[in-house]
Amino acid sequence: MSNYKMHILVCGGTGCRASQSHEIVEVFKAELKAHNLENDAQVVTTGCFGFCEKGPIVKIIPDNTFYTQVTPSDCTEIVLEHILKGRKVNRLLYEDPKTQSHVEDSKHMDFYKKQLRIALRNCGFIDPENIHEYIARDGYAALGKVLSEMTASSAIDEIKKSGLRGRGGGGFPTGLKWEIASKFKSDQKYVVCNADEGDPGAFMDRSILEGDPHSVIEAMAICGYCIGATKGLVYIRAEYPLAITRLKIAIEQARNFGLLGNDIMGSGFSFDIELRYGAGAFVCGEETALIHSMEGKRGEPTVKPPYPAEKGYLGKPTNVNNVETFASIPVIILKGSEWFASIGTERSKGTKVFALAGKINNVGLIEVPMGITLREIIYEIGGGIKDGKKFKAVQTGGPSGGCLTEKHLDTPIDYDNLTAAGSMMGSGGMIVMDEDDCMVSVAKFYLDFSVEESCGKCSPCRIGNKRLHEMLEKITSGKGTVEDLDYLQNLSKVIKDTALCGLGQTSPNPVLSTLEHFYEEYLIHVKERRCPAGRCKELRLYSINPDLCTGCTACTKACPVGAIEGEKRQPHIIHEEKCIRCGACYAKCKFTAINVQ
């Protein structure tokens, strides 16, 4: 075995792979070989570093040099300069936008300074396809500790005391969930990992599975020991091929090492894991729907109780937890519940992973202690709003969540504060919007999603959401009235109260929350028939700038309704009452003479 002096870590997450990071790995390997450095430096494909905005990322260990937007052609220079001569390649270093100086050590980047990585502790650090690297980072030590030193009830107690709550959205205390499942007697119980990350714009579970699959496997085995289950199932989206591959490799390696299978570590405890694939249905994130889907049926939810802890997969007691929840377990066991409970706020302990996306400078995956403010996330970690625009809102909780606005910027983020603000923690998608985003359209976008994804079992969700969507369509096309706004609100409340499952009950949240925080914007849509953000196509006002118009008549020919008039070589005019706001003239004009309001 070689003693490498340096490690070249290349991000192999989905985002960076889309920008040829696998090619970078190959070039690095070839370059090291060509310069006889194979025994000095090792190339490691890791999971996601989180800083997706500037991918592909290459990090050099031990000096934490953080190279951004690396292309395969940069590899030679990095090898020749950095690896061989120890000189950093300045042009590829991350440049701090505030000081415009290069940051040499990733620890000093604003993006990482405020982060605390627990669930993501190994992402971007180890090779997820190599169990040795996980073990070297105390991997499977927690499982060993539980099996050799702890009883099931003392391990459950430890999780309970840590205050860990479900990271999939609901926020149910994990220890309590395990305790309930442990109390039901059955010949067979199941541990299920919910990796059906359906929230559009969220990718933390995928990144954990791609970057650190063993942590989830270890935690599932611990859970199995605690509740008395010998079988684990991971329900994963078929849309995540890379995560599936890495999980399969990890399970196989764990089996070969005797960390899964019969009589693990000679303790007499047996546990094994199988994969089940989802096939693209948002509702399958709901635990009863997920269980039906695992049984090969339509993923429709059923009424609780009975809870899965009593009657779940194949009618047996089943404990369902989300990927991120599981990923936090081994650390809690090793470092103790007190340590974990010392992080966060009174009722929300530990850290939360967020997928930061939208109109923000540093798009990426972040993990922060609970209680951090939105301002810190957006302006410090996120580097502020793109193109210097004005912050408008941030949407959390995906299609089940709501918007947080300027007045929430200094609210500490935890489960309860987000719920009180009319949003929810959700799985951790955080979409930042600026002044160019129309909040009515955003609500419509989410409703569009909910309508498409409704399983159709209960009428409030199936029919109610469709009606809500029609209302919003009416408003964004300039046909809405003030009464419609009341109607929207009432119907939303009815759906909230009467839908069958968690997803149906929360689907009107985007409407309610935008109505609450952006009522003015709705009013302008219905009263003035105008979209202040200029996003609603049918509410745009087109006019011709007579100074720029050459009278070429291109727009007259393009207009499908004959709303444009004018003599040849004379400035034209648009008749507003005839205009259908299709934008054809705007697209055709070569002289940017058409103004859009």
């Binding site: 989905t14 985002g15 889309a18 920008s19 997706c52 905005e53 991918g55 359906g198 929230d199 559009p200 714009g201 969220a202 990718f203 995928r206 990144s207 078929a238 849309e239 995540y240 089940r276 694939y277 989802g278 096939a279 693209g280 249905a281 948002f282 889907s293 049984e295 090969g296 049926k297 339509r298 993923g299 194949l314 997928a355 996306a357 939208g358 109109k359 798009v363 990426g364 949407q395 995906g398 998608g429 979409i431 919007m433 985003d437 955003v442 976008f445 989410y446 999603f449 399983c455």
Partner: protein, 158 residues
């Protein structure tokens, strides 16, 4: 849609797939994944054959196929285009990409061009939000796509 008639060898393929899952109806979704991987889509006759092997009603298979968006009963184009309509891509203008593609290909979302070359679909979040807006052609990911690049991208597929 009943133009697709199964040949004996195709029936054997389905039989083998089902057998590899011990003909267990609980594995229906996994079986359909494999079957779609083999045939590209799941026409009626294929569904019938799966039902026959698993000894379950065709309606149950059809129910599952139509429930999940991953399964399709229509063949896709030679180059399947999918535009990500996750929230991150949406706020960065993915809807404009869809409009542009519809215009250039002269098809609606969910359709295939008459020559069978391209099909257009939308999907929810591939998780490459850092590259938004994103579109996929086959397995290739195009990030930070501007509507003006569409012509060039389409032309690169012969």
């Amino acid at each position: 849609m009943n133009t697709f008639k199964l040949q004996d060898c195709q029936k054997t393929t389905i039989k083998n797939i089902c057998a590899s899952f011990k003909n267990d109806p609980g594995e229906l979704i996994n079986i359909l994944h494999k079957t779609q991987g083999e045939f590209g889509y799941l026409p009626e006759d294929v569904q019938r054959e799966v039902a026959l092997n698993l000894n379950i009603p065709v309606a149950q298979v059809y129910g599952v196929v139509t429930f999940y968006s991953f399964f399709t009963m229509k063949p896709k184009g030679k180059h399947a285009i999918s535009v990500c309509l996750g929230t991150a891509c949406y706020v960065r203008g993915a809807d404009k990409l869809v409009d542009e593609l519809k215009e250039q290909l002269k098809i609606k979302v969910g359709e295939v061009t008459p020559d069978g070359k391209f099909s257009l679909d939308c999907l929810r979040c591939v998780g490459a939000c850092g590259l938004a807006p994103v579109l996929l052609i086959g397995d290739k990911v195009y990030g930070r796509v501007d509507p003006e690049q569409i012509t060039e991208i389409l032309e690169s597929y012969e």
